[in-house]
C-alpha cells in the first residue's frame, strides 16, 4: 500500500501490446471471409460436437458448424457492432462531456445531473431498456448509449474551468467558442486513443452480454455473445463450443483494456 510506484516502461509496453493485439484482430476481421473455411452459419460442415482436431481446430457445435469459421465470423460481427457503439459512446460521452463542462455553469451542471441519473443505473440494464424501447437492430447504438453516461461524467469532472489559461483567455477577451475549440483539439489529440480503447472495452462487454441475454445480434449474424449463449446447451460436456468464442471475446476486451492503459488511479 505504501510505495509510490509508476512503471512507465511496463505501462508503455502493455499499451503497445494492446494496440498490436487490436491491429491483429482488425486484420483477422478484414480477412475473416478468406480465413474462414465455411460461410457464416453453414450447418453440418462436419460431424456434430466433434472435439478440436487437425480438421476442425476449434471443433464443431451441435449443428456440425465449424467453430473456427464461426468464431471468426462472430468476432467480425462483434467488432463491427462494437465500433459503432464506441463511436456513439465517444461522441455522447467523452466529447459531449468535455463540451458540457465549458457551457455556462447552470446549463453544464444540469446536463451533468441528467447524465448522473443515467449513470446510476447499471449500464447493462440501460442497454436492455433502450433495445426494448427500439429494436434489437439498434443494439450497438444502445450499448454505446449505455456506456456514454459514465464517460460523460468522467469527461465533465476532468475539466478544470478555472484553469490559468481559461482565466487568461477570459481576461483577454478570447471568446468561449475559440477557447472551447482549442481545448477540445488539445484534449482529444492527447487522449483520443485512450478514450476510444476504453469505450471499445466497455461497449464490447455490454454488447456481448445483451447478446448473451437474447437482446443483441439476431441470427444468422451471430456475434460472440450469442454464440456463447447458444453453447449453453452443450458446453458442460463439449467445452470447446463455448471456450473458443469466449476466448476470442476475452482477447478482444483484454487488448482494448491494455490499449487504454487503465491503471488503478483511473475509474474503469
Amino acid at each position: 500500500m505504501s510505495a509510490p510506484g509508476e512503471a512507465p516502461l511496463l505501462r508503455a509496453a502493455l499499451r503497445l501490446l494492446g494496440w498490436c493485439g487490436l491491429g491483429l484482430i482488425a486484420v483477422a476481421v478484414a480477412l475473416g471471409d478468406f480465413l474462414a473455411r465455411a460461410p457464416a452459419g453453414a450447418a453440418f460442415v462436419g460431424p456434430m460436437l466433434s472435439a478440436p482436431s487437425a480438421e476442425f481446430p476449434f471443433g464443431t457445435d451441435l449443428l456440425g458448424r465449424d467453430l473456427f469459421s464461426e468464431t471468426l465470423h462472430g468476432l467480425s460481427v462483434s467488432v463491427s457492432h462494437a465500433l459503432l457503439g464506441t463511436l456513439l459512446a465517444i461522441a455522447l460521452g467523452g466529447f459531449f462531456g468535455a463540451v458540457a463542462a465549458r457551457l455556462p455553469r447552470p446549463a453544464g451542471l444540469t446536463l451533468r445531473g441528467v447524465f448522473a441519473i443515467f449513470a446510476s443505473v447499471p449500464a447493462l440494464l440501460l442497454a436492455i431498456l433502450v433495445i426494448g424501447l427500439s429494436a434489437r437492430f439498434y443494439a450497438p447504438l444502445a450499448a454505446g448509449f449505455a456506456a456514454a453516461p459514465l464517460a460523460f461524467v468522467r469527461a465533465f469532472d476532468r475539466v478544470d474551468v478555472n484553469s490559468a489559461h481559461a482565466e487568461y483567455a477570459r481576461a483577454t477577451g478570447i471568446s468561449w467558442t475559440t477557447l472551447l475549440r482549442r481545448d477540445l483539439t488539445y484534449e482529444f489529440r492527447d487522449t483520443l486513443g485512450t478514450v476510444a480503447a476504453r469505450a471499445l472495452a466497455a461497449v464490447t462487454i455490454i454488447l456481448s452480454t445483451v447478446s448473451f441475454l437474447g437482446f443483441g445480434a439476431t441470427p444468422p449474424a451471430r456475434d460472440l455473445g450469442l454464440m456463447i449463449a447458444a453453447a449453453k446447451a452443450s458446453y458442460l460436456h463439449a467445452w470447446w463450443t463455448a471456450a473458443f468464442p469466449a476466448l476470442a471475446l476475452l482477447v478482444l476486451i483484454l487488448c482494448a483494456r491494455l490499449a487504454a492503459g487503465l491503471d488503478e488511479s483511473e475509474r474503469p
Binding site: 500500500m1 505504501s2 440494464l125 469466449a246 483494456r257 488503478e264
Partner: protein
C-alpha cells in the same frame, strides 16, 4: 460534517427525483395517450404523480400491482446482492490490500487486466463448468432446476444450488472492491504527507496504520456506488444464467414482453439503491476523514 451530510442528502434526493421522473417517462409508454410530445409529457406527469403516491401501476404480464410483484421478487435479488457483497468484501479486500502494495501492484497489473477483461456471464459459465465437471454438482445453465433454493440456508443441496450465483456476483463485486482499494492506495501513495511524517520520526507501520489506512478505507467507501452497480449488474446476469427468479430476471422478462410499468419500477429501485449506497459511502468516507480533525 453535518453540512456535508446534508449536502449529500440533498444531492441524493435530487437524484432520486430525477430517477423517478425517468421511470415515470418509461412507465408513461404503458398509458394510453395521443401521439406527440405534449400528450406524452402529460402522461409522464400523471405517472410521476402516481410514483409520488406510491402507485406504480399494474404489471402487463400478470395484471397484478407492479409494486406487489416487485415486493415478491426483490428479496431474492437483495439476498443475492447481499451474499455476493459479503463474498466481494471477503475476497476483494485482502486482494486489494495485497495487490495495492508497490512492487506487487506493478507485477499484478497485467494479471488484473486479464481477470477484469472477463465478462460476468463468461465467469458464471466457467464456474458452472468447474462445478459440474470438477465437483460433480447438479448444475443447470440451460433449463430451470426443480424448486427455488433460498440464498441463506443450511441445507447442503440448496447451498450447492445457490453457491454458483452467489460466487458469480461475489467475484464481480470483488473485482470492483479490489479496484477501489488499489485506486485509493495508489492515490494515497502519491500524498506528500508521507515524507513529512517520516522526517517527524514516525515508522512506516505507524504512517500506514494511522494515516494511510483511513484514506484507503475512505476510498473504498467513496466507491460504494460503483460497487453496488457491479453487484446489481452481476445479479442480473447470475439470475439469468442460473435461472433464479428475482427482480433482475423480472426486468429482462418485463422489457422482452414490453411490461413498461414493471421495467420502470425495477429501474427506479436499482437507481435508488445506487444513490443510497453512494450517499452512505460518501458520508462514511467523510466521517472517517474528519474523525481526527479538530
Amino acid at each position: 460534517m453535518l453540512k456535508f451530510a446534508a449536502r449529500q442528502a440533498g444531492r441524493c434526493a435530487l437524484g432520486l427525483l430525477g430517477a423517478a421522473a425517468a421511470a415515470a417517462a418509461i412507465s408513461a409508454i404503458a398509458l394510453p395517450h395521443k401521439n406527440g410530445l405534449g400528450p406524452f409529457l402529460l402522461a409522464a406527469g400523471v405517472r410521476l404523480w402516481g410514483f409520488l403516491e406510491l402507485d406504480f401501476g399494474k404489471s402487463a404480464i400478470s395484471g397484478l400491482s407492479a409494486g406487489g410483484e416487485l415486493a415478491h421478487s426483490l428479496p431474492q435479488t437483495m439476498a443475492l446482492v447481499l451474499a455476493g457483497g459479503c463474498v466481494a468484501l471477503l475476497v476483494g479486500v485482502p486482494l486489494g490490500l495485497l495487490l495495492g502494495a508497490g512492487p506487487i501492484r506493478r507485477a499484478a497489473a497485467p494479471l488484473i487486466q486479464i481477470v477484469a477483461a472477463a465478462p460476468v456471464f463468461c465467469a458464471g459459465m466457467a464456474l458452472a463448468w468447474g462445478a459440474a465437471r470438477g465437483l460433480h454438482w447438479p448444475v443447470s445453465v440451460n433449463a430451470p432446476m426443480q424448486g427455488e433454493a433460498p440464498i441463506f440456508t443450511t441445507d447442503p443441496a440448496a447451498l450447492r444450488a445457490t453457491a454458483l450465483p452467489v460466487l458469480t456476483v461475489g467475484l464481480a463485486g470483488a473485482a470492483a472492491v479490489q479496484l477501489a482499494l488499489r485506486r485509493a492506495a495508489s492515490q494515497s501513495a502519491r500524498e506528500a504527507f508521507r515524507s513529512g511524517l517520516r522526517r517527524m520520526g514516525l515508522t512506516a507501520l505507524e504512517i500506514e496504520r494511522f494515516y494511510v489506512a483511513p484514506q484507503v478505507i475512505g476510498g473504498l467507501l467513496a466507491s460504494a456506488a460503483e460497487i453496488m452497480l457491479a453487484l446489481l449488474s452481476a445479479a442480473l446476469v447470475a439470475e439469468w444464467v442460473f435461472h433464479r427468479p428475482g427482480a433482475a430476471d423480472l426486468f429482462v422478462k418485463s422489457v422482452a414482453l414490453q411490461d413498461w410499468n414493471m421495467a420502470a419500477l425495477i429501474l427506479f429501485v436499482f437507481a435508488a439503491l445506487t444513490f443510497l449506497a453512494d450517499l452512505a459511502g460518501r458520508v462514511g468516507a467523510e466521517a472517517l476523514a474528519s474523525k481526527d480533525k479538530p
